[in-house]
């Protein structure tokens, strides 16, 4: 008797199972688009998928609910320049480069530092700024006054960043003076790293000169800019490896912005400095 009742029940169950299955597959259909695309395909479908960051002041950040910063202003110019529409998604750094290499986004319009490792899965546009690595310390910390004083001190840096990857260069510099790199603390993003520096959990934070200058200008009572801890380094926008036509298109846009003086104007506005000697292409050593 129990068996027969359960058998009847299972006929309802089967219908239910089908409905559930359908529900799980129907949901994605509601969504938009995506697929890695060449410049021709982008022109044909009429839009470019751009991803930017949301907490990377001064390059990209959100103020009063609106994206702003150096890259976002350039993006506005790019909208006028491009013969196609531009769709922008604002996502955290974590998934940004992965989004481009998997083809979810056509370009990461952010300050991604050009590194050897990244060049294996991505191609980069012309550099958009100088990203020489500097350190920042707590205001009034007398124990640090030069790079050699960083010996053995605890450093805060973003996980998965080019800055982290290049710390061995600082270690080599310190070793020449008989010292060594201290403990490394990794953070998901820089605001937390700065907070921990202010709290005294780390002794210095390494980031690019532009990011740190902006920080120190905003919080002069808390932080003080140190010296360079790396050789040449440049950030650029990233496209999928081998997407050379799109790379060339973006480079053409950057060259036009440089020629018109708009690039220098935006650099001055957001970085406090313009970088007139940026290379058109950069081959990283690290």
């Amino acid at each position: 008797m129990t068996t027969s009742s359960l058998a009847r029940f299972s006929s309802i169950s089967r219908r239910l199972a089908l409905a559930l299955l359908a529900a799980q597959f129907a949901a994605p259909m509601l969504a938009g688009k995506a697929q890695a695309a060449t410049l021709d395909e982008i022109k044909k479908r009429g839009y470019l998928n751009v991803a930017t960051e949301d907490d990377f002041r001064p390059f990209e950040f959100v103020k009063d609910g609106k994206p702003t910063g150096f890259d976002n202003e350039l993006l506005e110019d790019l909208r006028k320049f491009a013969p196609f529409e531009i769709k922008q998604d604002i996502i955290p750094w974590t998934g940004l480069l992965a989004g481009v290499s998997t083809g979810k986004y056509d370009v990461a319009l952010t300050a991604a530092i050009i590194t050897k490792e990244r060049k294996q899965s991505l191609d980069f546009t012309s550099p958009i700024a100088d990203a020489t690595h500097y350190y920042v310390k707590r205001k009034g910390d007398a124990s640090i006054s030069a790079v050699k004083d960083l010996n053995g001190k605890t450093v805060g840096v973003q996980a998965g960043s080019a800055l982290l990857a290049r710390l061995p260069e600082l270690d080599a510099t310190l070793k020449k003076g008989g010292g060594a790199l201290g403990k490394i603390v990794e953070y998901t993003s820089y605001p937390e790293a700065y907070q921990d520096l202010a709290l005294g959990r780390t002794d210095y934070v390494v980031n690019t000169v532009i990011n740190l200058k902006t920080l120190v200008a905003e919080k002069p009572a808390a932080f003080e800019l140190g010296q360079a801890v790396s050789g040449k380094s440049f950030p650029a926008w990233a496209v999928a490896k081998g997407n050379t036509e799109l790379q060339a298109f973006l480079n053409e846009f950057i060259a036009k912005e440089k020629a018109s003086g708009r690039f220098a104007e935006l650099q001055k506005k957001w970085f406090g400095d313009s970088f007139p000697d940026l290379p058109v292409a950069f081959e990283p050593e690290f």
Partner: protein
């Protein structure tokens, strides 16, 4: 922090509540459906559900979400951040809900079911009148617990660009270089949301007790 910043966090609260509610409203019946399939030992479906639930309970939500968001476009299925977030939440919570519902079904006395059968009730009537009211009461604390976990796991959705309460707070901290005030505001918003949910649970439980007293 400016008024605009507070508004941004409240906007994040709308996203958190909306996505949690959608996740709960879709995940709850799917979980029940899964539990019934297993309870009824439906051929093919029951073992499939068992495997599904085991895999989903073993997969961190953030990993599942990144996989959906980046892998689906690769195989030609377009997906935007919000749909990816909803699907990941539903897949995750339905697996946990399934187990809560199943626990209630397992403790359900089968003789009641057979008694209902013997007075000639059909399968769907039996389910609606006899089984469902009793398993809802048993499952409610576990389900509400899972729902409150779901609300608090929504910051994970930020990895694909969904701006919930916490992400809105992170953005403000990144702009002002003062992360503590926005985080304090964020924390103070989660508490009333979860409290509202728990109050709803208490209200339903009180109503059930009152209904029983009346019967």
């Amino acid at each position: 922090m400016s008024g605009g910043d507070i508004a941004a966090i409240l906007g994040g609260a709308v996203v958190t509540v909306t996505l949690s509610l959608i996740g709960i409203l879709i995940g709850l019946p799917i979980g029940l459906g899964f539990a019934l399939l297993r309870w009824a030992n439906a051929p093919i479906a029951a073992p499939t559900v068992t495997v599904y639930v085991s895999i989903l309970r073993a997969t961190p939500l953030v990993t599942l979400l990144l996989l959906l968001f980046f892998a689906l476009p690769n195989i030609g299925v377009p997906i935007n951040p919000i749909s990816a977030a909803i699907i990941a939440l539903v897949m995750n919570t339905s697996a946990f809900n399934c187990e809560v519902w199943r626990a209630a079904l397992m403790s359900f006395p089968k003789d009641q079911y057979e008694a209902a059968q013997s007075v000639g009730m059909g399968a769907s009537l039996r389910f609606r009148r006899i089984v469902l009211p009793q398993i809802v009461r048993v499952s409610l604390p576990g389900l509400v617990n899972e729902m409150s976990l779901l609300i608090k796991v929504t910051p994970v959705l930020a990895v694909v660009g969904v701006v919930d309460i916490t992400r809105a707070a992170v953005r403000i901290g990144a702009e002002t270089y003062e992360p503590l005030p926005p985080f304090l505001v964020a924390v103070s918003i989660y508490a009333p949301i979860v409290f509202a949910l728990v109050s709803l649970q208490r209200w339903i439980e009180r109503r059930q007790v009152a209904a029983e007293a009346a019967a």
